[in-house]
């Protein structure tokens, strides 16, 4: 199960007594189990901050987050995260990075490797099994990071612009892969992106955020059945609507 309840979350980064950045201002949102929600908004509006709070890496100054009615106060393996920046352990090979989570849970190395092999195939990196992160391109690193998060079998997967560094073609392929994994594995996904196309293609709901301080501006439910045709009329109409809302924020 992976129901996420975000209740009145605010987060202010204080530098000293007088100045500070209000990154999130009273954000509330209910996310259903197995839902795919995309967050989109101007740079610096607090999307990363929100994901970090849901993961438990950061704590809100006001409000609270629940996953399946359990209040989140610290990170745990049920909430996986793919970071915006590169986060692979450079001293571990690709395969050892992927089995890190399962090994922490006590899975035997041999079984963990067998499982990990599947995820490596999923992201198309079987030949790089024994490579080290410094030998991979940026996009490849991000794919390994996705495989590593998936191999830990989280109930909620938090993805912070995971495809930002990829070329359009790989991006499209991975979007397909992600959808099929999501359907197979029954996980809840919170997905941050800058790409309206991506949000429109993936999401059950698109959450549009305001410029700083980050608030929820609008939530759009996407009722177009999957797999969505990126060039269809409905998809285009939706894309224009989201773009218009974002443009209002950019002007501020």
């Amino acid at each position: 199960m992976g129901r996420v309840k975000i209740r009145g979350v605010s987060r202010k980064f204080v530098k000293d007594e007088v100045s500070g950045t209000l990154a999130l201002d009273n954000v509330s949102l209910d996310i259903e189990d197995k839902e795919f929600v995309c967050f989109i908004g101007p740079s610096g509006c607090g999307k990363t901050t929100l994901l970090r709070i849901v993961s438990g890496l950061d704590l809100p100054d006001a409000g609270e987050v629940f996953v399946d009615n359990e209040r989140i106060l610290s990170p745990g393996p049920k909430r996986g995260m793919v970071f915006q920046e590169y986060s692979l352990f450079p001293w571990k090979s690709v395969i050892d990075n992927i089995i890190f989570g399962p090994q922490m849970r006590g899975t035997r190395k041999k079984d963990a490797i067998e499982e990990a092999q599947k995820y490596l195939e999923l992201v198309g990196l079987e030949q790089f099994r024994d490579s080290y992160p410094h030998e991979l391109s940026g996009g490849m690193k991000q794919r390994v990071a996705i495989a590593r998060a998936l191999a830990n079998e989280p109930e909620v997967l938090l993805m912070d612009e995971p495809f930002g560094a990829l070329d359009a073609q790989t991006r499209n392929t991975l979007q397909h892969e992600l959808l099929s994994i999501w359907q197979k594995k029954n996980i809840t996904i919170l997905f941050v992106t800058h790409s309206v196309d991506e949000a429109v293609f993936l999401a059950d709901r698109i959450v549009i955020m305001t410029a700083r301080p980050g608030k929820i501006k609008e939530i759009i439910k996407v009722d177009i059945p999957r797999l969505r045709d990126r060039t269809s009329l409905e998809v285009n109409q939706l894309r224009n609507r989201v773009l218009k809302l974002l443009a209002e924020e950019q002007k501020k």
Binding site: S74, P75, R79, F83, E85, W91, S93, M104, H134, A149
Partner: protein
Amino acid sequence: MARGRFQKLKNKGVEILSVISAVIIWQLVADYIVRNRFFLPSFTDVAEAFLITVSRQGIFPFMGMDLELPVLLVDTLYSLMHFSIGLVAALVIGIPVGMIMGWFRSLERVFDPIIEIIRPIPPLAWIPFAIIWIGLNPFGAGFVIFVGALFPIIINTFTGFKSVPRIYVEAAKVLGCTADHDLIRRIAIPSALPSIAAGIRIAMGVGWMCLVAAEMFGVSRNGLGFKIWHNYYLHRMDFVLVYMLVLGFLGLLIDRAFRSYLEEKFFKWRTGVVM
């Protein structure tokens, strides 16, 4: 094979020429300008002294037996023993202290002022206390080397731990690695290892430099540093130089061996560790 070796020598041409010229200049200065074997022994004097030293036998007590070995080897073994006692003690104490200071903020503040006060004291200033606390034995010499080697190890372990990128710690946490001891073992140590290794390398250099002084105050009848003083009192400056050169070459050798071991170890995940 022979050709390959020749090629290698050819590539090192400048270096070889430089060493040969230095030796020739040394010989000429000693023979024609200084003309005093006590003041500056020439290269050939030293070579002769070296051959004499090599031909002598000494006794090395080992597991209840008295082994008869070349005296130079006995001295080397004694020095390596003093050196290892100090270095191992510095590792055993320095690495945990550095780790704790780097990981726990509050303990950094506890240890830091004490370390900052003791660190500037030159290791050799500890010799009187080494004698009264530990006595005239190999551990007394080891103590001086320990003091010299300790701080580079603490400081480098500490910096290595402090600069573990936050993203690795956070990535580990969301993968279920949340306990401090797991984070230290699986994230902080591997991430800080290059820095710790660099600290050990500096510590070995400092420890080696302390060796001569540590053996000076009569901890044993053998040791490369001890023999320097011994020969000095006998006014055999050519023998002093032999031992000086052996100390230099051995130090170089230890450093090279350690460095190539490190490169082997980190080669896989770090291309070109600069140390």
